[in-house]
Amino acid sequence: MNGVSILSVGIDIGTSTTSMVLSRIQMRNTASGFSVPQVCIVGSEIIYKSEIYTTPLVDGILIDTEKIRAILEKEYDKAGITPSMIQTGAVIITGESARKQNASLVTQTLSSFAGDFVVATAGPDLESVIAAKGAGAQQYSKEHSCVVANLDIGGGTTNIAVFHCGELCAKGCWDIGGRLVQVDRQKKVTYLSPRLPAIMKAAGVSLELGRTADWQELDRLCRVMAQVLEDTLKFTASKLCEEMRTAGSSRLTLSRPVEYITFSGGVADCVYSPQEDWFRFGDIGPILAHSIRESSLMRDYQVIPPKETIRATVVGAGSYTTSVSGSTITYTDESVFPVKNLPAFLLGRETEHQCLTGNDRNLREETEWFLEQNDCDNLLFCIQDIDSLSYRQLNLLADALCHTADSALGKEQTVMVLCRGDFAKALGQAMQRRLLDRKLVCIDSISVQFGDYIDIGRPLMNGMAVPVVVKTLLYG
């Protein structure tokens, strides 16, 4: 009973490429026999990497759902697995926003064979974090106690995440990528991203569809793009940086200077090993990589090799999206799992502490308001401020939550609670005594933020803990 491993899938549908990985996430009870159990993720091992496919598109813009499905069917077959074997993971659709228009349809189509507990995830910030973890930037910063920035340069976007001693300290996404311009063998322009005009203006270049581009023009364009990345990391955010920031992404704000850089994404391969055949991929990726090699990024920081380049995002999605709850938790009925897309309702500091004094008016009002605003039937009560509490306070909190659940939630709804502090078992037991036959889930040791959605998987290791995926955005 010392350890288990779960099979996780990562699927990345990017602007230019699509790939899949399978990994085994190992979990073990790391506590000694004398203390309370503590199930931790102790490692993950990639057991299968798919080929890298060109993302199939309809009309050059929308993702071709049927073809994606065919790719995955083929790869599952090659890997020798069936969807029912998959226990966790994430489908992530990254890159240019235009392509995300049918993202929700894509994930719906995939859900039938991505497995029971595979989450669809999106949002430029989250993509940055996932890619950086896949590239190994987080691990490097932790092991070497330093500041590492990962630049995941793909076809449509550059996702940046910065870690300090293993902790995320900044993230953001810019519309800078190798496929913003596509050309054929004769250097005739076949595609121009709608985000390109600002860069063309800054570079003093004007490309047109169907016209042949010369190398110097493309080089000037790529130098401007590299400059945007340089400025962003130095937080001398220029007007162009601000303009090229992906919609919905954070600004990069750093409290300490970046020391190391890793590059990942398709363009990274050309950064680490330069291409001489400039138009091999039918885009400006190799030229952009060349501009980056010439830029101050290579001189001002120590550039280190990533664990993954083009597969960083998919490995991140497969290996680093799942976390595990605390190991003293309460649930009344295993059949409620998996729980998907539960909106996180943060009580907030003031309301949390009000509950501890026996006043639950705010909690009730805010719960009703939240359900109405989000147009949903259920929610996850998230207690994030309370660190520790006395038994008396615990009972008052249980009273408040149970009264609220009774008045605001339908009788058939499972009452779901998540706390950051380690008291879910005690709180759960106290609530169970009050709720009697009603279904209840109470888990802890997970941090969530405003606007997050949470998925909870089936209990692991004799029911000690549950796998949890926190995501920042849902489609549609």
């Binding site: 509490l389 380690d422 005690a426």
Partner: protein, 288 residues
Amino acid sequence: MTDQKLIELVTQAVLAQLAGQPPAAPAQQPSAEETEPLADITDKAHKMAINIEHPVNRDALEQMKTKTPARIGVGKAGPRLKTATMLTLRADHAIARDAVFRDVDEQVLSDLNLFSVQTLCTERNEHLTRPDLGRQFSPETINQLKSKCESAPTVQIYVCDGLSSQAVDANARDVLPALMDGLKGYGIQTGTPFFVKFGRVPAMDVISEALGAQVTCVLIGERPGLATADSMSAYIAYKAAVGMPEARRTVVSNIHKGGIPAVEAGAHIATVIKTMLERKASGVDLQM
């Protein structure tokens, strides 16, 4: 310069420095000691401070210090500890000694409605020097337990000072009711709880036999170390009997603010006891 004059100068400079003033400046403002309360040198913030003068990687040291209460990254003065480290060490030691030598707060016992009994030890020094007496009761005490407690309970819980009265003061109010209510929630009957003064762990075997409990659980103060004096353990055994192997005890240790929180520990112990009753085993026989 005469020796006398030199000594005078040095003394002045040292005194000025001790008062937190640069040596040359005349003491016009009130010193830090007069305006602010004295810092608690045993508190967490104080212990997190890095006293190495020029660490190669301060970040790494800070990270390491969050992982352990051990005195790392404290620097040195020649071959010795720095004065600040030495003082903190002695203060921590003093806390540990106090925790051992103090009695449990009567208010805690009355809040929890616990009556008290005592082992064969008559006073604190005997408790510390005669572990054999700390696991025995007089026939009168056994009779008192039998008359005041429900007999043959499914679970008998009691609280004991052990080697840290402070651990009882800090945790009992939260662990005991969380545990009792937790068991009640599972539909498991519990006997009458009480308090044992000057007790050692194996006293639970005598109590188990005297009251005929299926499971006996003692919440007892752990021998304090230099990291915390607040730590409590639960020793639990299925059909505990005098002379049984130690391997039949299950222990949940490290119940304190920096370890497992008291309320959560109570809830966890309730689950452990539930499993114990289902499997009719404890200690190494009970693979959780």
